[in-house]
Amino acid sequence: MGLTAPPEHRTVSYAPESQEGWVATRLDFLVNWGRANSLWPMPFGTACCAIEFMATAASDFDLARFGMERMSFSPRQADVLICAGRVPFKLAPIIRRIWQQMPQPKWAISMGACASTGGMFDNYAVVQGIDTIIPVDVYVPGCPPRPEGLIYGIRMLQEKVKNERSSDAGIRDEMEPDPSSQLYIPPSVIDELGEPFGNSVNQTRSGL
């Protein structure tokens, strides 16, 4: 779930000394198994990664094996937002709106270098990582990632889903962005992260 509030209770596990009851753990297992193996992706495909996503969904690599062949282009019916491709600033409120329209439980995969960090587009137009706008669960590097890479990322998300526990109270909480800035990460942190690469205000690297 990305940026949730820090857990104030002990973590739970399947270990025998855990205090969870047998029914709760079995129920967790069933629910997580069901969720992980039928994640319906919402392909927010913008650029080249979207073509690799389509190739992954096509017959050679086949996302249907993982229960993901039903692409849900309506966010209301989707589980996973796969952001495939670069996100410019003009598109930022759109992806924010789409994320907010998705009902819980929801996860996000940031596919490709451009969605994760802005990629090779370190300029005035591109969001330097969609995790400044929406909370991301899995980052898949690559430009574009090979279909095997995307499938690895999806499997990683499935592991994450399977390790969720219903007794974890804050797991479905949606963290609201700071209303004054509308950002999930404080502005000072964003500026600090962007500074080594020379954003205009600081512009530490000239000519590049």
Binding site: F89, K90, A92, P93, I94, R96, R97, D122, N123, Y124, A125, V127, Q128, T132, I133, S181, Q182, L183, P187, S188, I190, D191, L193, G194, F197, G198, N199, S200, V201, N202, Q203
Partner: protein, 231 residues
């Protein structure tokens, strides 16, 4: 059913079969015959003619650009019916004026021509639009305005096309615009997110049917006064 015809070689006035250019010289190639025709017809408005890498470049007076291109389009011996591109170039040297560049092609005669008009930087950047001659100039000029701030007089709907309409940082392809923008990253994000996607309808769209009546009162007032919405 459609049948396929072998490509016709076209009514080329020169009569030669086109071939891949080889060993193109930097400056010594022969000029496009249209350059001579232009100089004969518009003597003072043609500033100079250059041939670089076998492409003819004609520098024209900005005030006469529309008339010259209209003649190139209409005249039977020229027939430049295809507008390839409208763009602008700003040089790194601050003294050199901004150039508006038009790329024209004559399909019947198989010719290519580049027309340039220089706009000095001290004055407002304005030039006549070619929309009444070529419909393809519509979006190309909008993009030129968006990236450089050059206003095209006579364009029906000159507003930003690639950036959002209320983009405040400036004109991106100008040389005084830094690569990463003028604002800090968090400020850019804040401005981008501040817009409501539903506010992104242009005035033209909001005049449709009852959409206007459903807007909040203050928005209607602002729009009535001519203020533009987020798109």
């Amino acid at each position: 059913m459609t049948r396929f015809e072998v490509v016709r070689t076209g009514a080329s006035a020169t009569g030669a079969q086109p071939a891949t250019q080889r060993n193109v010289s930097h400056r010594g190639a022969e000029a496009n015959p249209s350059a001579k025709a232009l100089q004969d017809k518009f003597s003072t408005a043609i500033k100079r003619v250059e041939v670089i890498w076998a492409e003819t470049i004609v520098y024209v007076d900005p005030a006469a650009a529309h008339e010259i291109i209209r003649w190139l389009h209409d005249d039977q011996s020229q027939q430049y019916d295809f507008l390839i591109d409208v763009t602008a170039v700003e040089y790194r040297d601050a003294e050199v004026p901004i150039e508006v560049v038009w790329h024209l092609r004559s399909l019947p005669y198989r010719r290519f021509l580049r027309i340039k008009a220089q706009l000095p930087k001290g004055a407002p950047l304005e030039i006549d639009s070619l929309w009444d001659i070529y419909k393809s100039a519509d979006w190309l000029e909008r993009e030129c305005y968006d990236m450089f701030g050059i206003r095209f007089r006579g364009h029906p709907d000159l507003r930003r096309i690639l950036m959002w309409e209320s983009y405040k940082e400036g004109y991106p392809l100008r040389k005084d615009f830094p690569l990463r923008g003028r604002f800090s990253r968090s400020e850019q994000l804040r401005q981008a997110l501040a817009q409501n996607p539903e506010a992104r309808y242009s005035m033209e769209e909001l005049t449709i049917a009852d959409a206007f009546a459903e807007l909040p009162e203050d928005m209607r007032e602002r729009l009535g006064k001519g203020e533009r919405t987020g798109e």
